[in-house]
């Protein structure tokens, strides 16, 4: 009997795993031959990535005209995808950094993949502002404030697009470093288990001479805490800044002070939606049910219902303020959103983001992986449409009715959106194949091992069901 269970808290890891079991379970997927399922997923996503590269190449070769934008609607799928992916990138940091600071131990089994997801989502997000530029080949340089010989020509610090450049690049850097630091102890374990010289060299280099000493752990814990502290404000700042692309403009429907908190809530909402989607897949395909338990799923469900309601409140507030402001342009923008030619997108957004998460008030549904999977897809769809609604419906009918128009996206734009998922999953499949997908160094820390712990795990092979109540044979502690 190795594990000691609290009568008040359910264990965070199921299956009565020993430390060796955990190392083995996690490393198995990067040491053995990949499964057919992995190959399938990897190749499909690589193919979709290929489509992305082709259509994006075509866009760069021909011009932005291959998209359906026009003189009235200057942003469509491009910036919608950008904001969507940035939003997705929020949950990772929230789970790793914020929950770490709040000592939410349940995060340990999901934080690694959530962080990886953040990183890949930010990569996808960062691509869209680049390819949406009319002249990427000079634009990617000119948005950087580097010393140059162009006299007074410098970047425009008043432009929210420039703030984006800083916000996104900072976020990408911090997320990558934070993720990498967390990986070091696990990489060292993988190095130690490696048999081939190339693996030894690869993981050895990445592990940077980690030897598992107390001194190592001491430094590691401090650095991890510092980076968690650095990353936390970014969760709030990045999407606030992205929201200012819209909030600082003069266009009715964009020009709204509520945007920063509204966008952050939306980002966390969408991020958790995407984490749920990914983890439910990973849990099933990589047999990680013991590590990603129903309790994890339920916790995430609670975050979704909270943030979904916040987003719903924001939608309502926008309408109230539009009416209350007395501005004819403002009130028209919102009436047009709900009843105009793009009303279909508005109602998709409301049903997916506000109505569907309300089902999670039921505990049964919160603990039903299939239901959660479908819901998480709804949330992803709804949040993509939220950005579409904000961008396109505000632009297509603004101040002067003579310029009003409609926006018909082209196949190229749709393929670029689909293709960006290809990129995302391509990176994710690479990640689960190359890097330990669960932070097993940290998971071991939440195992609650007792005094008479047997590191070989030989005495703990008895099946211990953990569902709602402690297993048979564990000591009952009276509440009295």
């Amino acid at each position: 009997m190795g594990h000691v269970y609290s009568p008040l808290r359910k264990p965070l890891v199921d299956g009565d795993k020993s430390m060796h079991d955990i190392t083995h379970d996690v490393c198995r997927s990067i040491e053995g031959k990949p499964t057919a399922l992995w190959w399938y997923g990897f190749l499909v996503s690589a193919a979709v990535l290929g489509v992305f590269l082709v259509v994006t190449g075509w866009t760069l070769y021909e011009g932005i005209g291959v998209w359906g934008l026009n003189k009235t609607v200057g942003w469509g799928f491009d910036i919608t995808n950008f904001v969507f992916w940035v939003g997705i990138g929020h949950a990772g940091t929230l789970i790793s950094a914020v929950l770490h600071l709040f000592r939410q131990k349940w995060r340990t089994s999901i934080n690694r993949s959530a962080e990886a997801m953040t990183l890949f989502a930010v990569v996808c997000a960062g691509l869209f502002p680049l390819i949406h530029m009319g002249r990427l080949w000079i634009g990617f340089l000119w948005v950087a404030p580097y010393p140059n010989l162009r006299g007074p020509l410098w970047v425009n610090f008043r432009s929210p697009l420039l703030w984006d450049v800083f916000a996104i690049s900072t976020y990408l850097t911090i997320s990558a470093v934070f993720w990498y630091i967390g990986l070091i102890p696990d990489l060292a374990t993988v190095r130690d288990r490696a048999k081939h010289w190339a693996r030894k060299l690869f993981y050895g280099t990445l592990a940077q001479g980690w030897n598992g000493s107390v001194r190592n752990w001491n430094h590691y814990e401090k650095a991890y805490m510092i980076f968690a502290g650095l990353a936390t404000p970014l969760v709030f700042s990045v999407h606030s800044i992205v929201s200012m692309d819209f909030a600082t403009s003069v266009i009715p429907g964009w020009h709204t002070t509520i945007f920063p908190p509204y966008f952050v809530a939306g980002a966390i909402f969408s991020g958790f939606g995407m984490v749920l989607t990914l983890l439910l897949i990973a849990r099933k395909t990589m047999r990680l049910e013991s590590y990603i338990t129903l309790d994890h799923l339920e916790s995430m469900g609670k975050v979704i219902i909270l943030t979904g309601s916040m987003v719903g409140l924001a939608y309502g507030t926008e309408f109230f303020i539009a009416w209350y402001s007395g501005s004819i342009y403002e009130s028209f923008a919102f009436i047009n959103r709900a009843t105009g030619p793009f009303a279909w997108s508005y109602w998709i957004m409301v049903s997916c983001n506000v109505i569907s998460p309300q089902t999670l008030w039921f505990r049964k549904l919160r603990r039903n992986p299939w239901f959660l999977f479908i819901l998480s897809i709804f949330v992803n769809i709804g949040m993509w449409f939220e950005r579409f609604v904000i961008i396109v419906t505000s632009l297509h009918r603004d101040y002067l009715p003579s310029s009003w128009s409609y926006y018909y996206p082209t196949t190229i734009e749709v393929l670029e959106l689909v293709g960006s998922f290809g990129l995302f999953f391509f990176l994710f499949f690479l990640f689960v194949r190359v890097m330990p997908a669960v932070a097993f160094g940290e998971v071991k820390g939440v195992l609650k091992m007792g005094k008479n712990y047997d590191p070989t795990g030989a005495s703990a092979k008895k099946h211990v069901p953990h569902d709602d109540k402690p297993a048979e044979g564990t000591p009952e502690v009276s509440h009295a």
Partner: protein, 1003 residues
């Protein structure tokens, strides 16, 4: 810019020099001289399609500085109104056509004493004439129908033989010039016949006057004299006879600036919504079949005793009131009609005569020569051709196979003529049926003369050495008839004729410099007497039976006119200003009629009718036109050309243009030919769906301003009571800004648009495109709403009926036009959002765009509340080297991925400032003109320095009508507008604007 007196025809110089060079290879010295001059010629005429070696000048040619543009006076041949023009010629090629502001036809400063003309007003068609010149799709040399390219000598031999024997007929459009008619006279003296006709004929006017006044002529209309104008389907602001002249004249009576406080009245009766109707103070929708009845009733109310008029839908009190108005206007009243029915024209003549208007608002003594076509001659020619008695037909500058109502029959009849010769710019529908095609010079390559109104002789001179192996049409005729002058350049023939007959002692040089000689002072002032007997059966026009069938109205399109400009990309893309659908003509119907006919927008329908006993039809897409009379369908002429050359397709790429699949769709892509549907009287017809439909390339999709205070308007009464009527919106303080305020120490450029003067014609749009190298994008791209025009003309349809979601469904809406270009805001939303400062504010109040810095995020365009920024979605190719000669060398073409927009013609501002500095003086108001302001026939757009207290724009800032669009968002635009004032009783909404605004908020 300087005015260059062109004493020598330099356009022909290189040719002469070449001959000279052949003769003088005697001495080294001569050789050097000739090569030096030839090099100069190469620079001056550096625009030939041939490969030539361009060498730097050894000696600067006298009077010409390379890189400096000179202006040469000429005459516009875009339509037969023959406005005066100034060609801006730089390095031997015309880069812009402007109006001649001293011309009695279109000059805005006629009567002012100026020693040299300056650039002035011209319509969109005139502005776009460069396209015709440089379009390589013209004939580049003489051709034979079967043998293809031939030598001139071969063609000349055949033509000379053909004009010698048998019945020779020369078929042309209106030819008014003195020298031109002298040449044709010589041909006639040899037994040939001359027949002239106008595709859009005004012969009914001449014919009516022949009967009622004994003079077969189209009078010269003087709208500047008229205080009450009534029009029955005469679109005099758009296309009728001399539109620039009429618009300019009419607008002088509508001006309420600087203390003027009276306005003329314009009342329109029409079936379709014309530009003139849209500008009318009062507009009544009548079918063509009701027009005669209304005229008869109006005449009756004015004292004619014509018996009861037939049925019509206009309330009796309207006509009663109108008659009273006309009576009190007396000789300053004017009634015009665009009818092809002579009887209706006679009724107009009677009314005008009764008012005493002859001599004031219309002048028959100094008549117009702008429409000289004679339909009776034409009918006689057709009969002769049918009988087979015509042996030689020379078709010159007209296209009867396309533009006669029964063009197909004409084509057949041409088969009966043994010799057919076309003097033509391109192998059009008629020329391609002729045996010989004599490639003619473009109007901008050749000498010509005109007499648009009696006594006013105008000259056209070449602005460029001829680009290809073409020839002046008069030279052709002289050569073929073996005249004594056959080997002379036509310029010399013309000069000799003018010296003998026109100049009357005045120097040839001054005539060339001014572009015209005005001998109208010698005109008789006495108007021919009215002959009551001539009225004949005119009153019968009042009882045309309304069959109840759908009535088909065809009209001349503003942009393509009678179809001769179908090849012109600028004009195709600008679209008819009333309809605003590019690259096609349409079956226009009111929303109610569309419902009744069960058709939807974009459906392609076949409109068929029996016209003068002939079955005719035309396939065109349907479009709704609020304000059109119920039970009518209107189709514009000029479209549906089948041999107009490769019409620019897609994104304006040449390879797209010749895509056979696209051309196979031709009938839908370029519209349908409506000439067969043109009848003398009302045409009853029907429409049937073809089952196809297309996406219409609409310039604008929404016609209501949604109760927003964008185009502000009021009535004359209200304005008189309260000078800021319609412009009394309360605005937040304009002082609040978080940025430091701009200080304008020197100039502060600004623009004011008088909405009362703007007729919505779109001349500014084309002028801007030509001046600023704005690309055209083609039908598909316009459908995607990506047209590049830097100025757009917003048209708002207004009445009190509620918004129905898309277009207004108004029964008889009022239309207001508002030119919308970059507003050059002081607090510009675009400037703050650009990440790389590609757009910023200049010290002189301009919002400037640095194309080279732009990285194309489109954020500026999104954040522009006026949506006036234009993005280069593709590489709008400029790979046709000949077409590129039309580009303005003063500014760049923009690459793809770059944002562009109105710069207030920055290049002109720099030039004006430079010229002022060279003369050591301050910039004078009016010396710098943007392309739009300059070409505006009605002076609706005014440009100037707001810091100069004497400037027009600065003075107008104090006008209570002055307002900025969207002032409530505090962008502080440099462009302001003056409230539109309509001369009619105030509407409810105008009495209580604030109340309405509240009602809308609660909506």
């Amino acid at each position: 810019m300087e005015i260059q007196t062109q004493n020598d025809d330099f356009s022909d110089m290189p040719a002469e020099l070449r001959q000279e060079a052949e003769q003088v290879s005697k001495s080294r010295r001569d050789f050097m001289k000739v090569t030096g001059m030839a090099a100069m010629g190469a620079v001056i005429a550096g625009c030939t399609a041939e490969d030539r070696i361009v060498k730097p000048l050894v000696n600067k040619p006298e009077g010409i500085t390379p890189g400096v543009a000179y202006q040469y006076a000429s005459t516009c041949q875009g339509c037969s109104a023959n406005c005066g023009t100034l060609m801006k010629v730089r390095d031997g090629r015309p880069v812009k056509i402007e109006g001649n502001n001293l011309s009695p036809i279109n000059g805005k400063h006629r009567g002012l004493n100026m020693d040299a003309p300056k650039a002035g007003a011209l319509c969109a068609v005139g502005q776009a004439q460069l396209w015709t010149l440089y379009n390589p799709d013209r004939l580049q040399g003489p051709r034979h129908k079967e043998d293809g390219e031939v030598e001139w000598s071969k063609l000349d031999a055949a033509a000379s033989a053909a004009v010698k024997g048998g019945k020779v007929v020369l078929l042309t459009g209106t030819i008014s010039g003195s020298s031109a008619n002298a040449v044709i006279g010589k041909l006639k003296a040899k037994g040939a016949h001359h027949v002239s006709y106008d595709a859009v004929s005004r012969y009914s006017i001449a014919k009516a006057h022949a009967d009622t006044h004994g003079k077969s002529a189209v009078p010269r209309y003087r709208f500047a004299e008229a205080t009450v104008v009534v029009t029955f389907d005469a679109d005099f602001l758009g296309t009728w006879i001399s539109p620039v002249e009429h618009a300019r004249d009419w607008a002088t009576q509508r001006d309420l600036k600087f203390g003027r406080d009276s306005m003329s009245r314009l009342v329109a009766f029409e079936a379709r919504m014309s530009l003139t109707g849209a500008n009318a103070d009062e507009r009544h929708r009548i079918k063509d079949s009701e027009r005669g009845a209304v005229l008869v009733e109006l005449a009756n109310k004015l004292g004619a005793n014509l018996g009861a008029a037939g049925k019509h839908s206009v309330p009796a009190d309207v006509i009663e009131k109108l008659a009273d108005e006309l009576k009190s206007a007396g000789k300053r009243g004017l009634v015009v009609t665009g009818s092809r029915d002579v009887r209706e024209q006679k009724l107009c003549n009677w009314i005008n005569h009764t008012l005493g208007a002859y001599g004031t608002t219309l002048d028959l003594a100094a008549a117009s020569h702008q429409k000289l076509g004679n339909d009776e001659d034409l009918a006689r020619l057709l009969k002769d051709m049918e009988a087979g008695s015509v042996s030689t037909l020379i078709v010159w500058g007209c296209n009867p196979v396309y533009d006669l109502p029964d063009g197909e029959k004409f084509k057949e009849l041409m088969g009966k003529v043994s010799n057919t010769i076309a003097i033509t710019l391109r192998a059009d529908e008629t020329a391609s049926e002729c045996t010989w095609l004599a490639a003619s010079d473009d109007a901008l390559e050749s000498w010509n003369d005109f007499e648009p109104v009696k006594g006013l002789h105008t000259l056209a001179q070449p602005g460029v050495r001829r680009l290809w192996d073409t020839r002046n049409g008069y030279s052709c005729l002289l050569k073929w008839m073996d005249d004594a002058d056959k080997n002379k350049e036509y310029r010399d023939v013309l000069k000799a004729h003018w010296e003998a007959n026109v100049l009357n002692g005045q120097s040839w040089g001054s005539a060339v410099e001014m572009g015209f000689v005005d001998r109208s002072a010698a005109n008789s002032k006495t108007q021919p007497d009215f002959r009551p007997a001539g009225m004949g059966d005119a009153k019968a026009a009042g009882s045309v039976a309304d069959t109840g069938a759908l009535e088909v109205t065809v009209y001349e399109s503003y942009n393509l006119r009678d179809g001769r400009h179908a090849v012109n990309g600028w004009l195709q893309e600008m679209a008819d200003p009333m309809v605003r659908v590019s690259w096609t003509n349409l079956a226009l119907m009111s929303p109610t009629t569309m419902e009744a006919q069960g058709v939807a927008e974009g459906d392609i329908v076949e409109v068929s009718a029996d016209v003068d006993g002939r079955k005719a039809s035309c396939k065109v897409p349907v479009m709704r036109q609020p304000g059109q009379a119920e039970g009518t369908v209107a189709i514009s002429l000029g479209y549906g050309r089948t041999k107009a050359g490769p019409i620019v397709h897609g994104r304006g790429k040449e390879e797209d243009a010749v895509d056979p699949d696209l051309l196979a769709e031709g009938v839908y892509r370029i519209g349908g030919n409506a000439f067969p549907l043109m009848g003398t009287t009302a045409v009853g017809g029907s429409i049937s769906k073809t089952g196809d439909s297309i996406r219409l390339a609409k310039i604008s999709k929404h016609d209501s301003q949604e109760g927003r205070p964008i185009l502000k308007q009021t009535s004359l009464e209200e304005w008189k009571k309260k000078p800021n009527a319609g412009n009394d919106q309360e605005l937040p303080s304009a002082d609040f800004t978080i940025w430091p305020k701009w200080e304008y120490k020197g100039h502060k450029w600004g623009m004011t648009v008088d909405l009362n003067a703007c007729i919505g014609c779109g001349a500014c749009q084309v002028a801007c495109s030509v001046e600023n190298n704005v690309p055209i994008v083609g039908k598909e791209e316009v459908w995607r709403r990506r047209e590049m025009h830097w100025v757009r003309i917003d048209a708002y349809y207004e009445d009190d009926s509620p918004f129905d979601g898309n277009l207004t469904k108004n029964e008889n809406p009022e239309v207001g036009f508002q030119p919308m270009m970059c507003q050059h805001c002081e607090n510009a939303p675009c400037e703050t959002v650009c990440p790389v400062i590609a757009t910023s504010h200049s010290e002189e109040g301009l919002n400037v765009q640095a194309y080279n810095r732009c990285i194309g995020t489109r954020y500026c365009a999104n954040n522009c509340p006026y949506k006036v920024r234009r993005f280069n979605w593709f590489r709008y190719e400029h790979h046709n080297l000949t077409m590129n000669l039309a580009l303005n060398p003063d500014l760049v073409v923009r690459s793809r991925g770059v944002m562009e927009k109105c710069s207030m013609c920055a290049q002109r501002i720099y030039e004006g400032k430079r010229n002022a500095a060279l003369n050591n003086e301050d910039v004078k108001d009016g010396n710098i003109q943007t392309a739009c302001a300059q070409t505006c026939p009605t002076d609706a757009i005014m440009f100037g320095d707001r810091n100069d207290a004497k400037s027009t724009v600065a003075r107008l800032e104090k006008d209570p009508r002055n307002y900025a669009v969207l002032a409530e968002i505090n962008t502080r635009p440099a462009v302001t507008y003056l409230t539109k004032v309509r001369n009619r009783p105030a509407k409810k909404s105008e009495l209580a604007l604030e109340h309405d605004a509240h009602a809308h908020e609660e909506h």
